[in-house]
């Protein structure tokens, strides 16, 4: 009976739950789905992490390569994020070049990296004007179930903390690079931005961490990125319902508590990976 009602009138079905301040999957409005992080599972990458919010799964693999810097920024390295939404994760996506949603997500991640200044691009310099690191951060969505951005940012922060770069010396005589794989060093990560997404329902209800179904029914979406100093790195609000300043402030304080939750989870996972070795 309930299943039939849900297919015919999905919005009414949701309203019945929201009136009681809960959701069909049993969560409260301000509750995230179970977050799972797995760090370092891909050994062919220089750093990797798998992040899961409920069913939504994103794997992030980072490869470091050498490149020549741009002439106007001779001591700056590159960070190149790329989000792939393949037909593997949902039947909505087609093979071929990245679609609109994938482009939006890639650009969002690039903006978060730039705005938060989590990594100084000057730190990726090996030899000014000659050789710099380029970090290719590839995100592949394995299972698409809403809240892609939060999952991607989680995976990014966890994967970057897993990166180990080999020591590089420039040979004075030949001018060529000499790589020593035995001595590796982690990246210098200054800030840890974490995203928190909301769906607005009927212009009034705010649902944190929307599922795919909730995203498609919502009248508005909002993503807030915070760092550990409670500073805003980015806000994304693509049209939809208007939000009052009080509501926005409410969202921001939820994002602050979410940051603490994720940060301690990442630290915990990193500790357990270390102790295994």
């Amino acid at each position: 009976m309930a299943a039939g009602f849900k297919t015919v009138e999905p919005l009414e079905y949701y309203r019945k739950f929201l009136k009681e301040s809960c959701r069909p999957d049993g969560r409260e409005l301000t509750q995230f789905r179970t977050t799972t992080i797995n760090i370092g599972s891909i050994t062919t990458a220089d750093g990797s992490a798998l992040a899961k919010l409920g069913n939504c799964t994103v794997i992030c693999g980072i490869k470091a390569e050498f490149a020549a810097p741009l002439a106007d920024t001779p001591s700056k390295g590159y960070i190149v994020p790329n989000v792939e939404l393949t037909p593997l994760c949902s039947s909505r996506f087609r093979p071929g070049p990245p679609g609109e949603e994938a482009q939006m997500a890639s650009q969002f991640i690039a903006d978060v990296i730039d705005n938060s200044q989590m990594i100084l691009k000057e730190d990726l310099c090996i030899s000014s004007g000659k050789l710099v690191w380029v970090l290719y951060c590839d995100f592949i969505c394995l299972d698409y179930d809403g809240n892609l951005l939060d999952t991607c940012v989680c995976a990014l922060v966890a994967a970057l903390r897993n990166v180990r770069l080999p020591a590089v010396k420039i040979n004075e005589d030949t001018g060529l690079a000499e790589v020593n794989l035995k001595t590796t060093s982690p990246l210098k990560i200054l800030k840890h931005p974490i995203a928190t997404s909301f769906a607005v329902f009927d212009d009034t209800f705010l649902l944190v961490d929307p599922t795919g179904e909730e995203e498609s029914l919502a009248t508005g979406l909002l993503t807030i990125v915070m760092d550990e100093d409670e500073r805003l790195c980015s806000i994304r609000k693509p049209g939809g319902s208007a939000l009052s300043p009080e509501k926005l402030q409410e969202c921001i304080s939820r994002a602050i508590t979410r940051h603490k939750e994720v940060q301690s989870l990442v630290n915990e996972v990193l500790e357990s990976v270390k102790s295994e070795k």
């Binding site: 891909i42 794997i59 490149a67 790329n82 037909p87 593997l88 592949i140």
Partner: protein, 241 residues
């Protein structure tokens, strides 16, 4: 070439640091440990994850969904950009090999005017990505409830420079010598796909195919077990009282 505005731009070209490191030889443990799990993705009709000694493959199946004409099996196999050590690899035309190996196993005539889509992704390549993708794809098809004659099980083998045969080779061994990839329908004892590359002579090729088939037969019960487990998870517990 005009820059692609759909992607975040990086440098024009870059090199892997591994190009500047002397090569180290690695030897595969035989047999390599296998992990199989079916039915783990929430959105796809059927899915499977297979891992063999570091090589990791994920596969999703969509369908059957309506399409004109006879039933088609649409396959795509890709390698993740971070799946290999060394230079970033671009995906190869491996979907066709996957399709040819699977077509013999699926009862396509049962699905007129329909389409089955198979998407496989190699997350980490430590040798034998293609045969493992064949096994993962048939496991995902079975998990989606598609009618099949048998599971297509993939196996690989390489021939080293000294002529020794190495089942389930590592990626370094695959590059250095001749290789055979084979897909077998174990219950019917039929070979549904065979790819040979490199130099093979006389009896060694026959011997290699035999060894490959034995390897497939050993993998078969593992896949069957994971299917039984996935099916059990799907059926709700009988309610007492």
């Amino acid at each position: 070439m005009a820059p692609d505005s759909r992607r975040v731009r990086g440098p024009e070209e870059s090199q892997s640091p591994l190009l500047y490191v002397p090569c180290s030889e690695a030897v595969a443990e035989v047999p390599r440990a296998v992990f199989a799990r079916a039915g783990l993705l929430s959105q796809a009709s059927g899915s499977a994850y297979l891992e063999m000694g570091g090589t990791k493959v994920l596969c999703a199946v969509w369908g059957p969904r309506g399409a004109p004409g006879r039933c088609r099996l649409q396959c795509e196999l890709r390698w993740a950009p971070f799946s290999r050590r060394g230079p970033r690899s671009s995906p190869r035309q491996a979907g066709l090999l996957l399709q040819e190996s699977l077509e013999a196993a699926v009862r396509l005539e049962r699905y007129p005017r329909a389409e089955l889509a198979v998407w496989a992704l190699v997350l980490e390549e430590r040798g034998c990505g293609l045969p493992l993708a064949v096994s993962a794809a048939s496991l995902a098809l079975a998990d989606a409830g598609i009618e099949m004659y048998d599971l297509a099980v993939g196996g690989g083998l390489s021939r080293g420079p000294g002529g020794q045969l190495q089942p389930d080779p590592l990626d370094t061994e695959e590059e250095s010598g001749a290789t055979v990839y084979l897909s077998l329908l174990p219950a019917l004892n039929q070979v549904s796909g065979l790819v040979c590359s490199g130099e093979w002579e006389g009896d060694s090729a026959v011997e290699a195919i035999k060894l490959c088939m034995e390897g497939c037969q050993r993998l078969y019960p593992v896949l069957q077990q994971s299917l039984v487990k996935a099916t059990k998870r799907k059926i709700p517990e009988p309610q007492s009282g």
